[in-house]
Symmetry: C2
Subunit: 360 residues, 2 copies
């Protein structure tokens, strides 16, 4: 076993216990003689795996009874089209957006193909270093919904509060890269979605948590496999679901419960993020450009003051088993993603290297 | 290890060697220190896995250079919408269909939401026991394309020839449940697609093989994640692909190559199918209702003459480790799916049981 710490933004590190269990069960799940990959999605074995995963996620996030949990395909990016198709009610209705980084920008661009898009507030001119204050959100009366990306994976900006706007509009939240990292009051949102490949499991599973009254008004051209009503009415089995990915997600949910749930995850994530940001802020050798109150606990982009040292930094990191620290190509620099499955020891190893490389 | 034979129609049996390799590599792929599930899809490790899988599939099916191979999400069923969105050119153009069973019927229903649908020939009145002769196919001049399901998983009907229609129209073929089971002349088709969960790998991966000139005319409301042009231009990484599923598919492709490729698979599949159909035809205790020349080599539905014995048959089969033989709920009876990964020994065990239960 090569010993490394994997700071990839996603697909990303998974708990070792989960991977070990998956390996042990690969050829024979619970004496069934079958791999989970080989099971009919309609058989009692997989149905039990599915229902346990659904129940555990519902428990972890305290999802109210009037919300459906859907396990879909297509990734978070596909939801940028699938959600307007399902929630608009009529083509050309208005969606409000808060533009806080690369992912909300992608959502805006895709939604504009189906909806009248209103960018109610934007931090673009600022280089995405903060969340525009709620008082400046210019929301549209009668809009179909307000879309937020509550954690911008590329820009490292996190919305850590429930927006007041929930009182008078439906909030749709892209929580792909921080779902399950902290408690969330689901009842304040109309829909929460996320690609699995950060805090949930392998790529290829997309979780959608949606209030029941929002289901059932898909536009005529919404593919039936992506109509929330079909998915909800068939326990995510209107078509064959990504069974193995759901199984791994279920193992992650069980692992989270053993760790103490989302509240304990939040405690650990605060500790890890504090440690890492303190090392970045210690002097001006490194720089994180996000205003402190909006800094993400999950995705920590940073720059070397002297960018000519970038390659040396990455080579040294790799030599120490600190992997996938290169920043997204659109913003450059470095990025450390420190999801639930990243242990404190991994962040400590990174901090030690940051200090060493800075000659502290 | 519980010793069983799994006759599920999909998700379905996978080669034991593939599962064993996946288990061995689960925590540390090739000394990388990472599971394949944990790898960034943009990193060199996964890119190498992806390119090998693509190259191996291209080799196995002798895919010409002017065809793209796309690894998508959403399953075969989603392609019933995605293909019209990509290939129609304009809403309301005509698609011809040959209706040979449940899956082509689903494709017809979904396509009618986007296109003018012409059922050029149908075996519905016949109960899907044959493929309508080509001379009776009433094709539309100027249709966008002709859609076929070349193997009907539920009805057990297979089109084992290249339709003459390729000479004057574009053929789109749903090969989900028999792709890689026999050689196919890809050049005679405009597009071939299949959900992975029969002969390719785990559910959640959808393979699309499409001639390049058909790419780039998606309808305006086609979600960008499902626009073939975006997928093709980005090596299936316009959004995060189902990385682990692609890895398993790649292991299956390698296994197929070690076995002798698709020609050897066809030899084995003919042998297995002959053995099974002979047992069903031995007397009138069992019945397969499909005309012999259209019987599927992959999916073998059958009925007990005395259906009151169904439960006893299934219980006895289960006791012998012969699993998932119950027929699809829409047609009843039994079904044995005998994909590439089903060894001859599995079919022999089933045949032994068929004979025993029939008191032969």
């Amino acid at each position: 076993m090569t010993n490394i710490y994997n700071f990839s933004a996603g697909p990303a590190v998974l708990p070792k216990e989960v991977l070990a269990q998956a390996a042990a069960e690969m050829l024979d799940w619970h004496g069934s003689g079958m791999s989970v990959m080989e099971m009919s999605h309609r058989g009692p074995e997989f149905i039990s795996i599915y229902r346990q995963a659904e129940a555990d996620l519902r428990e972890l996030l305290a999802v109210p009874d009037n919300y459906k949990i859907l396990f879909m395909q297509g990734g978070g990016l596909s939801q940028n089209a699938v959600i307007p198709m399902n929630l608009l009610g009529r083509e050309g209705a208005t969606i409000d957006f808060i533009q806080t980084g690369s992912w909300s920008s992608k959502s805006i661009k895709e939604a504009a193909r189906y909806a009248n898009v209103n960018v109610a507030a934007s931090a673009k001119d600022n280089g995405y270093r903060f969340v525009p204050p709620q008082s400046a959100w210019n929301l549209t009366p009668g809009a179909a919904y307000l879309h937020l990306c509550t954690n911008e994976t590329i820009d490292g900006v996190e919305i850590g509060y429930v927006p007041d706007a929930h009182q008078h509009t439906t909030i749709v939240a892209d929580m792909s890269s921080h779902i399950l990292s902290r408690p969330v009051d689901v009842s304040k949102y109309g829909l929460i979605f996320g690609g699995a490949q950060k805090n949930i499991g392998p790529a290829g599973v997309t979780v959608v948590i949606v209030r029941e009254d929002l289901i059932g008004k898909a536009l005529p051209y919404c593919p039936s496999a992506f109509d929330f009503k079909n998915v909800a009415d068939n326990e995510s089995m209107y078509n064959t679901p990504p069974t193995y990915g759901i199984y791994i997600a279920g193992l992650v949910f069980q692992w989270l419960k053993r760790q103490g749930g989302v509240a304990e995850m939040e405690r650990r994530n605060i500790e890890k993020a504090k440690l890492l940001y303190a090392a970045l802020d210690a002097d001006d050798f490194y720089q994180n450009r996000v205003q402190p109150e909006y800094r993400s606990r999950m995705n920590v982009p940073f720059y070397l003051r002297d960018e000519s040292k970038n390659e040396a930094f990455l080579a040294g990191a790799k030599a120490r088993g600190l992997l996938q620290l290169k920043g997204h190509k659109s913003v450059g620099g470095m990025r450390a993603s420190i999801y639930n499955a990243m242990p404190l020891e991994g962040v400590q190893a990174l901090v030690d290297y940051l200090n060493e490389f800075a000659g502290r």
